[in-house]
């Protein structure tokens, strides 16, 4: 039974890696080669998929495949960028709360609850409204918005570790707080946190798509998948590929990252890696 389960876990990891790999590969290729330049409108408005334009063209006559390829780059950038920002801020806050005196811990978690009550998208919209829309500000906004979620989860996970007997043993072994964080807390919260981060990666990509859909994301010609969806909105009946293609691209990336996270969590756990008979 356990063998079958570990097989399916490996399969999940592989499938996830394959899906993410496709997006990464496309993003890399887009750096050196595109079927058409992004400002090339020679294809004719809303032409159907053909040998010249594999996915057809948009209402300005631009090649859809080329835009989708550039969109992969932006999606990865947004996902990685905002998750890195959210992780640095969130994990720091969460760890401080976990080690803090009860009154400070309580105040931090109350503040986090308030911050989380604000939808990430709303927070992001407020931040983007303060400065001209750009990819950078979208990433910053999403990252900040998500950091409260990460902080709360990091706090809960870290508190469990801090309360364990092996951390008490580390204290009596002479290990100081930073050492305990590095040696015990981070390795023990990382696997569960990784799953959360992957979910947040997916959420960030979707948040950016939503921002773009609302016209608050990266400005043209850097077409993100969300902006492609927005632009295809009016013409979805005439040229459905324009909406379906970026939609599928989003699903592939978000699903792939979640699969990878699941697979990695199991790979990182020594009790699942090899088990002797008890």
């Amino acid at each position: 039974m356990s063998r079958r389960r570990s097989w399916s876990r490996r399969a999940t990891l592989r499938l996830g890696l394959a899906l993410v790999g496709i997006v990464v590969l496309v993003a890399l290729v887009s750096l050196v080669w595109l079927p058409y330049a992004l400002d090339d409108t020679s294809g004719g408005r809303l032409s159907a998929p053909s040998a010249e334009h594999l996915l057809g063209t948009d209402k300005l006559g631009r090649d859809l495949l080329s835009q989708l390829m550039v969109g992969a780059r932006i999606a990865l950038l947004v996902g990685i960028g905002s998750v890195v920002i959210a992780t640095i801020i969130g994990v720091t806050i969460g760890l401080i709360a976990a080690f803090a005196a009860p009154w400070l811990d309580d105040s931090i978690s109350a503040l986090l609850d308030v911050a989380i009550a604000f939808p990430v998208l709303l927070t992001a919209m407020l931040i983007v409204a303060l400065q001209p829309p750009s990819l950078g500000s979208a990433i910053l906004a999403i990252g900040l918005g998500m950091s409260a979620v990460i902080a709360r989860i990091a706090r809960i996970l870290a508190k469990r570790v801090v309360g364990s007997q092996y951390v008490t043993a580390a204290r009596t072994s002479g290990t100081r707080t930073l050492g305990i964080v590095r040696r015990h807390v981070l390795p023990n919260i990382a696997p569960t946190l990784a799953v959360t981060l992957a979910l947040q990666f997916g959420a960030a990509v979707l948040a950016e798509a939503s921002l773009s859909y609302l016209g608050l994301g990266a400005p043209p010609p850097n077409a993100s998948w969300g902006r492609l969806l927005q632009e295809a909105q009016g013409t979805v009946l005439e040229a459905p590929v324009g909406a379906i293609a970026p939609g599928i691209a989003l699903v592939v990336l978000v699903l792939g990252v979640n699969f990878v996270a699941d697979g990695l969590r199991d790979a990182a756990d020594p009790t699942r890696r090899r088990r002797r008979s008890a």
């Binding site: 092996y166 043993a169 072994s173 002479g174 040696r183 756990d269 009790t271």
Partner: protein, 251 residues
């Protein structure tokens, strides 16, 4: 010569008093057992003796010096001299670390040894607690409860401390494993002159390891003396109850 001492310590958790005027003195190479029911304040006394918390009155002294939890150099000397073993062999070892890393932690954290030197000491410590050589490369979940407690003892003794503070070290183990771990502690004490403070609700374990016993009830010391005397001629009803509660084999 007194190595570790709690002198008339009080401790309160918020407004709730836990310990009241408790004194415990441990000379070099001596062994003292602390017995009592749960809630008697045994574990709190241990955290004071281990410098994990500060008493609200009175003092904990190591080598005659009051413990200053914020003085790094003094605490490093203290931790090199006083090490601990905890009750639950399943949660006192970090599940994500290999045994060699777990046992090396005090060596590295206290700046006593690193690299090959540390590895050699870890091997020696594992051998001294009767674990196979390949134990170093395995993870905690691969060991039984008794073996895990041996690993915890190896971690505590790898820095060659003068005092071992043990919190219910055998309560979570099977009876036969219990006597093996007790034998190990006694053997280590005999070969290295280690002093021992052991907290337990199990007088049997204390009787098998400790020369002196201190009985705690409701945060106060109600009786203290040589273990043999406490067991054979207890002066307090509470002590008598503790003794009579121990299940014995029919003769």
């Amino acid at each position: 010569m007194t190595v570790l001492e709690a002198a008339n310590v009080d401790f309160a958790y918020g407004r709730r008093p836990i310990l009241h005027g408790v004194s415990l003195r441990l000379g070099a190479g001596e062994s003292v057992g602390v017995v009592g029911e749960s809630g008697a304040g045994k574990s709190t006394l241990l955290s004071l003796l281990l410098g994990l918390a500060a008493p609200s009155a009175g003092a904990v002294r190591f080598d005659g010096e009051p413990l200053r939890l914020r003085d790094r150099a003094a605490m490093r000397r203290f931790r090199s001299g006083v090490q601990a073993v905890f009750q639950d062999p399943y949660s006192s070892l970090d599940p994500r670390q290999r045994i060699d890393r777990i046992v090396a932690e005090p060596l590295e954290s206290l700046g006593i040894a690193q690299g090959a030197d540390a590895a050699a000491r870890v091997r020696a410590a594992l051998t001294s607690v009767g674990l196979p050589e390949d134990a170093a490369l395995r993870y905690p979940h691969e060991f039984s409860g008794g073996q895990r407690q041996r690993i915890a003892i190896a971690r505590a003794t790898v820095v060659r401390p003068r005092v071992l503070v043990a919190d219910e070290p055998v309560s979570a183990l099977d009876v036969s494993t219990r006597t093996q771990v007790i034998d190990l502690v006694n053997e280590l004490r005999a070969t290295t002159g280690l002093a021992l403070v052991m907290v337990s609700h199990d007088l049997g374990a204390v009787a098998a390891t400790c020369e002196r016993t201190l009985v705690l009830e409701g945060g106060r010391v109600v009786e203290e003396g040589p273990t043999a005397r406490i067991l054979t001629a207890p002066r307090e009803d509470y002590t008598r109850r503790l003794i009579s509660a121990i299940p014995r084999l029919p003769v």
